[in-house]
Amino acid sequence: MKTRPRPDTATRRPVSSIGLARGNGSRAAGLAIALAALSGAVAASILIGAHPVSAAQVYTAFTDPTGSDTDRIVLHLRAPRTAVGLLAGLALGAAGTLVQAITRNPLGGPDILGVNAGAALTVVLAIAALDLVSFHGYVWFAFVGAAAAGVVVYAVGSLGQGGATPVKLALAGAAVTAMLGAVTSAVTLLDLTTLNEFRFWSVGSLGAADSAIAAGLLPFIAAGLVIAVALTRSMNALALGDTLASGLGARPHLVRGLGGAAAVLLAGAATAAAGPIGFVGLMAPHAARALVGADYRWILVWSAVIAATLLLAADVLARIMVRPEELQVGVVTALVGAPCFLYLIRRHTLVRL
């Protein structure tokens, strides 16, 4: 929805106007730069850590592994960790875009709407009560929790006049997140063995990632991304409002349903693998929108790439900020993301997308 520029803000760019990169050529060129940045983040994530390795060592580890310490660090610690970070980042960026598109809400994000917290709670419950230890075992619970939390938040937030306004949704999300977080900590405190395992996971950490998790994550993320890409044109139509979207041949309810399912798939799987990581899914679509404008075909790709870069960069930072200890990546994303969230709230144009 185009916002009419207010007289006093006529010089400001409206929310959904054209971004910095205006032509498709510059958007594609920019995407190449963004992909280069992502590759840089991937490289940094493999090279940097408590035990620094050189590029040559990484090369030998992949081509001619001898079983040395360095090889094992690269193959069994750094590479899976980077893969999970990459996949979770792509997933969160795409999920944030989907949520913002289907709720038409600038504060939409899987974290703000309590989806991540819901997934986290059900995963903890599944592990504590049913002793499920494999990613394939508990990821289904993550989907259930994510979907349930999202539905509750949306239901409460859309009560009353004006439907689901950004403020109402964000408040309902915060309340649900608080409750789910409290139950999660109650469960972990009651069961000391899970406490140890989840102390770091529950703030969002890539530290426990292994290749089984990375392999388990891949199909879900791929499926979610495929649905998201298929929906981009309908999301563009939806941005014009339901009536106009129907007129253009999109079916709003179907798009919302599919988009919501894809968001649950992406955010749920990412949370099951890496814990509830905040603010990445909220920030990335906004950054993408500022760069490439209001076309969701571009926003989705850019947002996924930006989110993955952010997450990997945050993870690298988390490794080096408190040497020799390690910070959880969720802490770093919150430190960076919370000020962005405050900026979004403060911005004059907190209107519906």
Partner: protein
């Protein structure tokens, strides 16, 4: 001393008092008594006392109720007396004090900002106080003095941050709440960062404290909270009458001789102090500040400030929640903050749903 009912008295003098209010006169002074509020205070205090006595008897060394009462009166078996008064009473006393302080802070905030969601736990003041206190614990070693100072500084810093970010030609309640969510996230990330940097021993201590726990309270914690109440309650009581005038609107308040900004800042300041010191004494016990004033508000008529009743209700809620947290999953003791959060968050959700349905929110 004479108690007057509402209505015309003494010839042509009329008392314009709300239905539940009696004026008690003694000599030249008059005191307004809110009968329902008084009844509520008594009921809540009695319930808090009952829960407290049960809590005093419970534990690894069970003490029968009769012995508890005897010990409180200063007699009884010396071992029981020691267990009750030296080991368990500080916990119950700090629980009651902390609950009262949180509830009072919440009542002040909700009344001043006129939004049921604006309480110190929702808008990030407790989280700020926690970050400050954890900084003090991990960097300066965490004597009571440092913890209290850290909590105060953190609370005022996050209150100032909330206000500055939310201020856009006035502060709307809902923007304040949204900003509070962001500030909370920021403060808790800072807290986690500090915990990771800390020595393992300090980190363990701090992380239990962070969920809001009354375990291992000593008289020094009870002292902190007593000090907070001593400083802030008089301020709140003196300014409580202005609350009602403030609610008439700034212009009307000015006409009636009150500087609205000054009164508001003083009230909010006392609220921040209460929340900060309560957090320093027992950690950020969630949602007591949100829930207690709301319960009281539903039981009293709208025009009554209900500060005393809120405080009593908060004390009751906290002591009862602590009792439940200790006994529900015995022998494991949950921190009381977990229980209040699990029970309080649905309440917040219901409040939100109500506010949404009657169309008062953003």
């Amino acid at each position: 001393m004479a108690v007057h009912k509402t209505g015309p008295v003494r010839g042509d003098r009329y008392q314009v008092l709300p239905p539940d209010v009696r004026a008690v006169r003694a000599g030249g002074a008059a005191l307004l008594l809110h009968v329902r509020a008084l009844v509520l205070v008594c009921l809540f205090s009695a319930a808090a006392l009952a829960a407290g006595v049960v809590s005093l008897g419970m534990g690894d060394y069970p003490v029968p109720l009769g012995e508890v009462v005897l010990a409180l009166a200063g007699g009884g078996d010396p071992i029981s007396a020691h267990v009750v008064t030296e080991m368990r009473l500080p916990r119950v006393a700090s629980g009651a004090g902390v609950g009262a302080a949180f509830a009072l802070a919440g009542a002040v905030f909700q009344r001043v900002v006129r939004n049921p969601l604006v309480s110190p736990d929702v808008i990030g003041i407790n989280a700020g106080a926690s970050a400050g206190a954890v900084l003090a614990i991990t960097v300066l070693g965490g004597s009571t003095m440092f913890t209290v100072a850290g909590a105060l500084i953190g609370a005022f810093a996050s209150a100032a941050l909330c206000y500055l970010v939310a201020y856009q030609g006035g502060v709307s309640g809902y923007r304040l709440v949204l900003v509070g969510i962001g500030v909370t996230a920021l403060s808790s990330a800072l807290t986690s960062y500090l915990l990771t940097r800390a020595e393992l021993h300090d980190a363990q201590r701090a992380s239990i404290w962070l969920t809001g726990s009354l375990a291992n309270r000593s008289w020094s914690h009870a002292g902190v909270i007593a000090g907070a109440l001593l400083v802030s309650v008089p301020v709140a009581v003196i300014l409580a009458r202005r609350l009602r005038l403030l609610e008439l609107g700034d212009d009307m308040a000015r006409t009636l001789g009150i500087g609205p900004d000054g009164a508001r800042s003083a009230l909010l300041g006392s609220g921040v102090v209460l929340a900060a010191l309560a957090t320093a004494a027992a950690g950020p016990i969630a949602f007591v500040a949100l829930v207690a004033p709301q319960i009281v508000r539903r039981l009293l008529n709208e025009s009554t400030a209900g500060l005393a009743a809120s405080a009593a209700c908060g004390a009751m809620l906290t002591v009862a929640a602590d009792l439940a947290a200790r006994s529900l999953f015995a022998p494991i003791e949950l921190p009381v903050g977990v229980l209040t959060a699990v029970a309080g968050a649905p309440f917040l959700l219901v409040l939100l749903a109500r506010a949404n349905r009657i169309g008062r929110s953003g």
